[in-house]
Amino acid sequence: MAYSNKVVDHFEHPRNVGSLDKAAVNVGTGIVGAPECGDVMKLQIQVDDANNIVDAKFKTFGCGSAIASSSLATEWIKGRKLDEALEIKNTDIVKELALPPVKIHCSVLAEDAIRAAVADVTAKRDAKVEAS
C-alpha cells in the first residue's frame, strides 16, 4: 500500500507540531486514542475573546496517516471560529489525504481531537465565567 503524496508531504513537513500552555484558560487540549491501539493524538487550540482559533498545535503517536490527519486538522482549524471548527468532518480529511479504508480511523481520531479540544476550552471558559 503506497501513501498518497499529501500524506507524505504532511509526514515529512508536519504543520504546527508542538505544544501550547495547557493550563492557560484560552487554550483547549484534546487527547484521544490509546497507546495500545497504536495511536494517540494531542491537539491544542488557542482562542481569542471573539472565539477565533488563533493558534493550533499537535503531537501524535501513530502511523503516517495519523500524523498527516492531525497535521491537516491543525492547518484547517487555524483562523476558524470554534463552531466552524466543529464543522470539519472526518470524511473531509479522508478525501483530502486520499486515505485508504484501513486508515479511516486516523481521520476519525483527528475529528475527535478537534471536538475534545473545543469542548475543553469551552468548559474552561464557562468555569471561569461562573467563578467571576
Binding site: I31, V40, T60, C63
Partner: protein, 403 residues
C-alpha cells in the same frame, strides 16, 4: 538515494550463482523428472537427486528422507495434518507453542475443529520454551510436538536437542518449522531428535515457490497422510509434477549456505551487533526483543518507546524493514509473537525487525543506524507520549479513551 534491504527474514533475493544453476532447467533441460523412458526425464531426475543430496547434507539426513514441496507453509501443513490423520487413532493431542508462525498455528486450529486438542505452550520473556514444559504437557494421547527452530520475528532459537530428547523418551513425533534456521545455523536431525523439518528455498537465496519437508525413515519410520492426492510422487506424501528448476535452485542454495555458514554467520552477527551498538549508544529507551544469546545471527528486533512502528518505517523510507505494529497489517492487532513475550501492545506497536542478509554491507548498517536515530528523534519530538513521559507522567496509569 541509497536503498537498503533489511527484510531478509521475509524473503531474500536469488543468489546469482543459484540462478546460473537453475537456468538450464528452464531452457533446454525442461524434462519431467517422472518421465522414466527418455533422457529428458532421466536428466531431470538426476538434477533432482543432486538437489536432494545437497539439502540432506544441511540437515544431516539421508536424501531419501527429503520430500519436495512448494515451501514451508505446505511442508508444515503436510507434517501437522498428515501426522495427525495418520496417527489419529493413536491419539488426538498436539503440542506447539505460542510464537509459532501462522503456517503452524492455523493447521493446528483447523485440526481442533476435527476433534484434536492442541496445547500452545507459553514462552519466556526471551521467547523460549523449555524441554521441561514439553515433558509436562505430553499426555498419553500426544502424537506430535511442533516447536519452531528459530523465530521469524525475534530470531530466538529454541533448545531443539533437549526437546527432541524428551520426545524420543516419550515416543512422540517431533516436527520443527525450520524455515528461518535452515542454512543459517547448524542443524543435525539425528543429534536433535527431529522427525520432521520444514524449510523454504526463498529464505536462503533460492527461488520462491519451492521448499522441502524432511520426513524420518528410520527409528521411527514416520508416515504422513498426503494433503494433495494424485500421481503418488515423493513416496506418496506429495503428488504433483516436480518443480525441477526450483528444486535445482533450492539444492544450489543449500550447498552454498552450508559451505559459507561459518564465515557468513560470523559476518552477520557482527553486522547485527554493530547495528544494536549503533542504535543503543545513540538512543535512550529502546529495548531489544528476544534472546540476545540464543539468537539467529541475522535478526535484530527492537522496540523504540513512544514511537509507532509504521511511522518509523515511513521515516526511513529507503530502508526496507518489518514492524510488529498493527498498522502494517489489516488486523489492527499488533504482533502476537511480541505479545507472547509479555510486551504490552504499546511496545509491540513500537517494534522494528531488522533482518540482515548475504548482500548486506557495513555501509548499509551505518546508513540505517543514522536514518533510524534521526527518525526516532524527529518522531519523539512529535510524540505526545514522549512529552508526557518527560513530564514524569506514568503512561500505564493514564486512563486512555481506547477506540
Amino acid at each position: 538515494m541509497r536503498q537498503v534491504y533489511l527484510d531478509n527474514a521475509a524473503t531474500t533475493p536469488v543468489d546469482p550463482r543459484v540462478l546460473d544453476e537453475m537456468l538450464p532447467y528452464l531452457r533446454e533441460e525442461f524434462g519431467n523428472a517422472a518421465s522414466r523412458n527418455h533422457s529428458y526425464g532421466w536428466r531431470a531426475e538426476e538434477a533432482v537427486d543432486t538437489a536432494r543430496n545437497q539439502v540432506a547434507k544441511v540437515l544431516g539426513c539421508s536424501p531419501k528422507e527429503v520430500i519436495w514441496t512448494s515451501g514451508s507453509t505446505e511442508s508444515n501443513n503436510i507434517a501437522i495434518k498428515g501426522v495427525a490423520r495418520m496417527y489419529g487413532e493413536k491419539g488426538k493431542h498436539i503440542i506447539a507453542q505460542e510464537t509459532e508462525h501462522k503456517a503452524v498455528i492455523d493447521p493446528c486450529k483447523y485440526l481442533e475443529q476435527e476433534g484434536y486438542r492442541v496445547t500452545f505452550l507459553p514462552v519466556t520473556k526471551a521467547g523460549l520454551v523449555s524441554a521441561e514444559q514439553v515433558r509436562e504437557a505430553i499426555c498419553d494421547d500426544t502424537i506430535l510436538v511442533s516447536i519452531m527452530f528459530a523465530n521469524n520475528e525475534t530470531g530466538t532459537i529454541q533448545p531443539m536437542a533437549e526437546i527432541g530428547k524428551v520426545c524420543k523418551e516419550k515416543g512422540v513425533l517431533f516436527h520443527t518449522d525450520g524455515t528461518q534456521a535452515f542454512g543459517k545455523i547448524p542443524v543435525d536431525v539425528e543429534a536433535m531428535g527431529i522427525d520432521l523439518f520444514s524449510l523454504s528455498a526463498h529464505k536462503v537465496y533460492g527461488p520462491k515457490g519451492v521448499g522441502a519437508l524432511y520426513v524420518r525413515r528410520k527409528r521411527p519410520r514416520v508416515r504422513c497422510e498426503p494433503v494433495l492426492h494424485g500421481g503418488g510422487h515423493e513416496r506418496g506424501m506429495r503428488s504433483g509434477t516436480l518443480n525441477v528448476p526450483g528444486i535445482v535452485g533450492l539444492g544450489a542454495a543449500a550447498e552454498i549456505a552450508l559451505r559459507e555458514m561459518d564465515t557468513e554467520s560470523k559476518r552477520l552477527s557482527g553486522l547485527r551487533d554493530r547495528m544494536w551498538k549503533g542504535l543503543s549508544s545513540n538512543l535512550d529507551e529502546i529495548f531489544r526483543n528476544g534472546d540476545p544469546d540464543q539468537c539467529l545471527p541475522n535478526i535484530l528486533n527492537v522496540s523504540f518507546l513512544y514511537v509507532e512502528g509504521e511511522s518509523l518505517m515511513m521515516g526511513i523510507s529507503t530502508v526496507a524493514v518489518s514492524s510488529g505494529s498493527a498498522c502494517t497489517s489489516a488486523s489492527l492487532e499488533p504482533s502476537y509473537v511480541l505479545k507472547a513475550l509479555g510486551l504490552g501492545d504499546d511496545l509491540a506497536h513500537s517494534s522494528i525487525r531488522f533482518s540482515m542478509g548475504r548482500f548486506t554491507t557495513q555501509e548499509d548498517i551505518d546508513f540505517t543506524v543514522d536514518k533510524m536515530v534521526e527518525t526516532v528523534n524527529k518522531l519523539r519530538e512529535m510524540s505526545p507520549l514522549y512529552e508526557m513521559a518527560k513530564e514524569g507522567i506514568d503512561l500505564s496509569k493514564v486512563v486512555w479513551a481506547a477506540h
